[in-house]
Amino acid sequence: MTHPRTLLDKLWSAHEILRREDGTSILWVDRHLVHEGSHHAFGKLAARGAKVTAPELTFAVVDHYAPTRNRDQIADPQISHMIDTLRKNAAQHGLRLFDLMDPAQGIVHVIGPEQGLTLPGLLINCGDSHTSTHGAFGAMAFGIGATEVAHVLATQTIWQKKPQSMRITVEGSLGPGVSAKDIALNWIARLGTGGAQGCAIEYAGNAVRDLSMEGRMTLCNLSIEGGARLGMVAPDEVTFAYLKGRPYAPKGDDWEAALADWANLRSDDGAKFDREVTLHGDDIAPTVTWGTSPEQALPVTENIPDPATLDPGKADAARAALDYMGLPIGRPLDGIQVDQVFVGSCTNGRIEDLRAAAAVMAGRKAKVPGMVSPGSAQVKAQAEQEGLDRIFTEAGLDWVAAGCSMCVGMNGDLVAPGKRCASSTNRNFRGRQGPGARTHLMSPAMVAAAAVTGTITDVRPLLHGRSV
């Protein structure tokens, strides 16, 4: 009888070309996604006179610098330059480019799955830490730096040491108004931003199985915020139904062969994980961050903690965070006034996220300004078909084009110094949304609740009598 293996074991051995004596392996890369920020890597390639070795497996996307308004006349020359550089590199190396005006343009981690480029059983790399998103399909997907991007471009392989395996099991079920975002902020608050360092996480349990692909992507996306190398969910019928018929997904006999292979992509019964963590979905409340690290998160029903009561190693960081955030100790999270809201990003910019926000906003007015940036042009089109755009605009929010937008601000969508933003994004780091910006991370439904009340507030009472 063979030894029971984890999903990680199976994916790793399927991609390992060789292993050096020091334990480092060369792995085959099935998909490589590049964006404007990959310019350093293309520069390194040019410096060696090398070419992209597998252009058919390399896809380029305009997202980080994509303007969300007036795309036909970009005012900022630096932004035009970044986008033009990607265009030039994609043309020179014969890469499929999802350009600004492409109907399939969007954030790299939204369009990969949407286009069927992301599949179970693949190894996927991208020069972006949120590449862990693609693990929602049972792929091994992780972010890499520019030197490694150049390496993948030149060789279609990557040197890696096998991470430790960690399983996070979420038992039970999530209550109304509670989402994958809340699961993620919960485990990160519990284990810390370095809590899963060196680990590949497999998410399991009923509450994970019950998630849509969108929810699984949110969960895997945030793996990096807990320090994990990657996050994964074993593929199942939900995965296959999502992928069937997508543009780059296998067709005909290839689809049948893929389904047969994918059926095996799960951890065997009795497989041993290096670490196991269990959460209970029923215990999870809508959660928000109060500080400048994703681990500084609490249920919205709680009060701002007193740093003196925290683990001594975390007290100084908490004091500095509260100072930056301009928040007093002991204040209830519920009721903190916000200046603006943002719905979007690779974490929560998919159709289900927009539906969740719209369900709260329908028939209500926003008390603060805000922006909704769909994760892709296709998500935008779908939302418009469903009339979600009108719900947002009638409430008073701006409905703009797809890109990374205000999550990272590279395209000029910034939160002004000292302003407080309720945001469906992934990082509340100091200055992430702009110098001096104060970010509170939460789910799209919670952002919508913040918009209609002008404060951080529990979304659940606002959902009474509404279908979500």
Binding site: I17, D22, E148, D254, A317, M410
Partner: protein, 212 residues
Amino acid sequence: MAGWSTHSGRAIALPLHNVDTDQLIPARFMSASRSEGYGKFLLHDMRFDADGAEIADFPLNRHEGASVLVAGRNFGSGSSREAAVYALVDAGITAVIAPNFGDIFASNAVNNGLLPARLPEHEVTQLIDSLADQSAAVLIDLRAGELRIGDQGYAFELDDSWRTKLINGWDDIDLTLNHEDQIQTFKDQRFQTTRWAWPAAQDQEPPSRRAQ
């Protein structure tokens, strides 16, 4: 990248946890060309106030010529931006000493000759306390895995393959190309047995882009 095995310089404390890559280099500077030098962007929004004036008591402003930073937990967490490492390297930093590092940051560091040295948290705390707002002479010996700050010696942790890479200054692409035949064989086999792993052909694409 040039390899190195010993370093002699000045160490200072950066007594902060979770110094993330967004702080190491704010996103707005990342469209700059590397040839401009990234040193001036390092920890920009902590070193300079909103008007661009230097904040005098920030450690990096107090001590010019520091080459080693001693910092708190989870240094370099966050994004994969290698620019965070460029900012450190271009500012003259050769090593960062911390209890632990963001995974992607650490491998980016090694790819650029920057040592991410791990010490137990209590030793880092002690070092930060003893350095306070002063700088101290530091000696690092990569082969021995030891460093000395002032009159105190420490054994640091570093993955063996990273140690070798820092010492040799090897380029991974050159190393990998030595295995070109094995890679080609793997690719051919995968294409035979796992055809579905290649993107389905798109009608509008020229045949030259299809898999071989």
